[in-house]
C-alpha cells in the first residue's frame, strides 16, 4: 500500500460484520472487520466513540429486534389474558324482561318496570328496546335506573329509528328497530327502571302497524288505511355483563401501539443503514419500501 495508490473497493455487510474488497491492477485484497462496541473502542484507543451514529454504520446492528421479539411474546400473553377475562366476565342471565305499549303519536309516555336486581358489587347493565314493527318512525327513550333504597339514579338515552323507501337505485332501508344502551358501574341493589319514551312518525309516513290484519299474513298493504293512534308493544330487556367491548379494543390498542412504534423505529433504522447500498434495500427495509424510495433509486 502506497500513498496515492488507487483501488476499487466493495463492502459487503451484515449486521456486526463487514467484508471489504480492494483491488487494483496488481492485487485483490479482502479484509473482514467486526464492529466493536463504543466502550471497546474507547478502552483501546482512548477516544470518545459515538454512541448512536446517524445514519447508522452499514454494518451496525439495529438495537430493536430483540425488544420487538420479547415484546411480541409479552403482547401475546397480554392478549391471552384479555381474552380470558373477557370470556370469564361476559354475559349473564337476563335481569328483567317486559313490554310497554308504543304509539307513534308524538306524545311522551312513561312506564316503571322492575324490579331489576343487581347482585354483583358493580355491574354493567345493558338495556335493549325493540319495536319490531317500527317503520319510517323513531322512538326516543329516556331510561332512569333508580335504586329503590337510595333513590340514586343512573340515566341513559336510547333511540330506535327505522326508515325505508325507494329511489332510482331501488329500495333502501336505514336504521334499526332496536336500541341498546349500556350503563356502567351500577352498584349492587334493587332498582326500578323508569322509561320515558316518545314515538314519532317521519314526515307523513303512515303508521305501519295500525292495521290489525297486517301481521296475520293476509297480504294486506301495511301502509294502507292509516289513521294513527293504534299501538304495538315495545319490548324492554335488561341484561348484564361485566366487560365493555370498547374497553377490550382500547386495551388492545394500548398493548400493541408501543410495539408498532418500536417496529417503526426499527424500520427507520434499517432504511437509514441501507441508504447507501448499491444493491438496494433488503429485509424489512425492502418490504416497506415506499414509492419515493423507488424514485430516488431510479435517479
Amino acid at each position: 500500500m502506497q500513498v496515492g495508490e488507487e483501488v476499487a473497493t466493495d463492502d459487503y455487510v451484515r449486521p456486526g460484520y463487514m467484508l471489504s474488497r480492494e483491488a487494483n491492477a496488481q492485487e485483490v485484497s479482502w479484509s473482514q472487520s467486526t464492529l466493536l462496541e463504543p466502550k471497546e473502542i474507547e478502552a483501546a484507543f482512548d477516544v470518545e466513540a459515538p454512541r448512536h451514529p446517524w445514519p447508522p454504520l452499514p454494518h451496525q446492528p439495529s438495537p430493536y429486534p430483540a425488544t420487538l421479539k420479547t415484546g411480541f411474546k409479552i403482547a401475546l400473553a397480554g392478549l391471552a389474558l384479555l381474552l380470558l377475562l373477557t370470556f370469564l366476565f361476559s354475559g349473564g342471565p337476563t335481569l328483567f324482561r317486559g313490554t310497554v305499549p308504543l304509539a307513534l303519536d308524538g306524545r311522551e309516555n312513561s312506564a316503571t318496570l322492575g324490579p331489576v336486581v343487581v347482585n354483583r358489587p358493580y355491574q354493567l347493565v345493558s338495556i335493549r328496546a325493540v319495536a319490531p314493527r317500527l317503520e319510517n318512525a323513531w322512538v326516543d327513550i329516556d331510561y332512569a335506573l333508580v335504586n329503590r333504597e337510595t333513590q340514586e339514579s343512573y340515566q341513559a338515552y336510547g333511540l330506535a329509528e327505522r326508515y325505508s323507501g325507494q329511489d332510482s337505485d331501488g329500495p333502501w332501508t336505514e336504521g334499526s328497530r332496536g336500541a341498546t344502551v349500556k350503563l356502567a358501574a351500577v352498584p349492587r341493589g334493587t332498582y326500578d327502571l323508569v322509561v320515558d319514551y316518545t314515538g314519532n312518525r317521519w314526515g307523513t309516513a303512515p303508521i305501519a302497524y295500525d292495521t290489525p290484519t297486517w301481521n296475520s299474513g293476509g297480504g294486506k298493504d301495511p301502509f294502507s288505511g292509516s289513521s294513527g293512534g293504534a299501538t304495538e308493544d315495545m319490548s324492554i330487556e335488561v341484561g348484564q355483563a361485566q366487560v365493555f367491548v370498547s374497553n377490550f379494543i382500547l386495551a388492545l390498542l394500548l398493548l400493541f401501539v408501543p410495539l408498532i412504534f418500536i417496529f417503526w423505529r426499527h424500520l427507520s433504522f434499517e432504511k437509514a443503514r441501507q441508504g447507501e447500498s448499491d444493491t438496494g434495500p433488503t429485509g424489512v427495509a425492502a418490504m416497506f419500501q415506499s414509492g419515493d424510495d423507488d424514485e430516488e433509486e431510479d435517479d
Partner: protein, 48 residues
C-alpha cells in the same frame, strides 16, 4: 431481557391491570350512562 422489553412488560402489566380493574368495576369511558340529553336536531333518514 433488555431495558426496552422490561419497560414494555411493565406497560403491558399496567394495561392488563387497568382492564381487570375496569372489568371489576364494570367501568368504561364509553358507557351510555349519564348521557341524559336527547339527540338534538334532525330526525329522519340520511339516505341520499
Amino acid at each position: 431481557m433488555g431495558r426496552g422489553a422490561f419497560l414494555y412488560g411493565l406497560w403491558s402489566l399496567g394495561v392488563v391491570g387497568l382492564f381487570l380493574g375496569s372489568t371489576f368495576y364494570a367501568y368504561s369511558p364509553f358507557a351510555d350512562g349519564g348521557r341524559v340529553a336527547p339527540r338534538a336536531g334532525f330526525y329522519g333518514p340520511t339516505h341520499k
